[in-house]
């Protein structure tokens, strides 16, 4: 893409990648709200977004299956960008510099920084666990086939994984707001050269060398 090499913007995500991300995001939001509604009574009123409490219970697991499949697409596409490197360990040790926007003190970041990679692996751990435990407690279809002790473990694990996942996504959403210019990567697919060289210099160098192949 010669034209883009000379323009101010660099492509970071293709249209299918963006669609895949947003399908996962939309199903996540629906799952988080319907799940939290049944987790703590202070959020029970979220059931109103889904047509009432019974509909919330009915819809949640089906949406969950859609999110799992959608996330599987993201995982297959992006896992190889998320392998942990030595620089990542160093980056995590300097997390206080990260939080204070002192990027000049950080090791060179490639396509993803250690925080993004950690989020990726957190999702890899929690989403399949949520699917499996969710099936075990899914009424009326599957729960009846499992022993009660397993259901009790599943219901606890489901809540723990959901808590870890929701907390992780809150950080993910905030990071996109905090690091200006990030939202465009997932909405229009592009980032500025300044954004790339500041936040992902390793990736930016490769782009300059290889053209627009990320």
């Amino acid at each position: 893409m010669k034209t883009e090499t000379h323009s101010r913007l660099i492509r970071r995500y293709t249209p299918p990648e963006r669609a895949n991300h947003w399908l996962t995001a939309i199903t996540f939001i629906l799952l988080a709200f319907s799940g939290l509604a049944l987790f703590h009574p202070s959020m029970f009123w979220f059931t109103q977004f889904f047509g009432g409490p019974v509909w919330t219970r009915i819809l949640h697991p089906y949406i969950g299956v859609v999110m799992f499949l959608s996330f599987a697409g993201l995982a297959l596409k992006f896992w190889h960008h998320n392998l942990i490197s030595r620089n990542d360990v160093e980056w995590l040790k300097r997390i206080s510099d990260v939080i204070r926007n002192r990027e000049d003190r950080l090791p060179e970041v490639d396509r993803y920084n250690a925080g993004q990679k950690l989020l990726f692996w957190t999702m890899i751990a929690t989403i399949p666990t949520l699917l499996i435990t969710g099936i075990i407690i899914w009424r009326p279809w599957f729960a009846g086939y499992f022993p009660i002790d397993l259901i009790r473990i599943a219901v606890l694990l489901h809540a723990v994984c959901a808590f870890v996942m929701i907390s992780g996504i809150i950080v993910h959403i905030y990071a996109a707001i905090w690091i200006r210019g990030t939202v465009g990567a997932m909405v229009r697919g592009t980032v500025s050269r300044a954004w790339a060289s500041k936040h992902h210099p390793g990736w930016y160098k490769r782009i300059l060398q290889d053209g627009d192949k990320s």
């Binding site: 509604a37 049944l38 987790f39 703590h40 009574p41 202070s42 959020m43 029970f44 409490p53 019974v54 919330t56 219970r57 939080i99 204070r100 926007n101 990027e103 407690i137 009424r139 009326p140 729960a143 009660i148 002790d149 259901i151 009790r152 473990i153 219901v155 606890l156 809540a159 723990v160 808590f163 929701i166 907390s167 809150i170 950080v171 905030y174 707001i177 905090w178 690091i179 200006r180 210019g181 500025s192 050269r193 300044a194 954004w195 060289s197 500041k198 936040h199």
Partner: protein, 290 residues
């Protein structure tokens, strides 16, 4: 139930006190298994009063019918044949909701008001608020609630809360021909049980005793057992029932802490933004023009 109650001790998924101005005496059903003849009059009376009918089943080599509690059979005579020292004992136990003082079903229920506990000790399901999630099944230490295949609501013994509230005894009590079932204040029932236990001990049942398990805070359905040291002989009546520790962790620890932690995470983001502020690459570009 549309009649208003002012005597609600606990209400599921509710964090403020339910209407509890009126206090009632704690009641209890006492099931003396040593007097039970297995006639199932209690089972029939339960279906008759509650206007439910069990499907006609098949015989599986025991008098037990149906084979398990169902959404239509809220009480069930369970028959066990126990051989000991060359003698056969036919141990018959009327199973059903124990109406725990600390009900695991209520603790697990996510739907406000779907399960309530009255000050007289009765734990009652309010099916119109039930969402069919089955958490009560996971919460119950006695495997009592059943989810209906017809409407996905949970059903179980009400201890005839409708009869008790107007001064009647539960239907099963009224039907019992041997007075193996008695009903009254919990205090009176414990006294009555102690008389029975003393009598049984005199007649050689050294281990006779009352089943009112402390692990669930005591129950409002109690048993007199000849083998109180081995309740599991009576079709697996649990010896020391408690709300499962996983349910305790889930509802007692994780529920409040995780809710607070998620809120804290979101607030931390907000305060990071208004103190340290956003990270803008374009500022950088102005400092060092390319």
């Amino acid at each position: 139930m549309s009649l208003q109650s002012l005597d609600i001790t606990r209400r599921s998924a509710t964090t403020t006190p339910p209407p509890q101005q009126r206090q009632q005496q704690e009641v209890a059903k006492l099931i003396d298994v040593t007097k039970c003849i297995g006639c199932k009059a209690c089972q029939s009376a339960c279906q008759e009063w509650n206007d439910l009918r069990e499907e006609v089943g098949i015989n599986e080599g025991s008098y037990q019918n149906p084979h398990d509690l169902t959404e239509n059979s809220w009480t069930l005579m369970r028959f066990a044949e126990h051989e000991q020292n060359g003698t056969l004992e036919w141990l018959i136990r009327k199973d059903g909701c124990m109406h725990c003082a600390d009900p695991g079903c209520l603790k697990a229920c996510p739907s406000p008001g779907a399960i309530i506990q009255y000050s007289n000790g009765i734990v009652d399901f309010q099916e119109e608020h039930c969402i069919g999630c089955g958490y009560c099944v996971a919460g119950c230490p006695f495997d009592v609630p059943r989810i209906s295949k017809k409407d996905s609501k949970a059903y179980k013994c009400t201890l005839c809360s409708d009869r008790v509230s107007v001064g009647l005894e539960p239907a099963c009590i009224k039907a019992c021909p041997t007075q193996a079932l008695v009903f009254g204040s919990k205090e009176d029932m414990i006294d009555h049980a102690n008389d029975r236990i003393a009598d049984l001990k005199e007649r050689g049942f050294d281990q006779a005793g009352l089943y009112d398990p402390a692990g669930v805070g005591g129950t409002h359905v109690m048993y007199v057992l000849h083998h109180a040291d081995q309740p599991q002989l009576y079709n697996d009546l649990p010896k020391e029932p408690t709300i499962s520790p996983t349910v305790g962790l889930w509802k007692g620890v994780l529920k409040p802490l995780a809710t607070a932690a998620m809120l804290f995470t979101a607030l931390a983001g907000f305060f990071h933004y208004v103190t340290i502020g956003p990270n803008d690459a374009e500022d950088n570009e102005e400092d060092h023009p390319a």
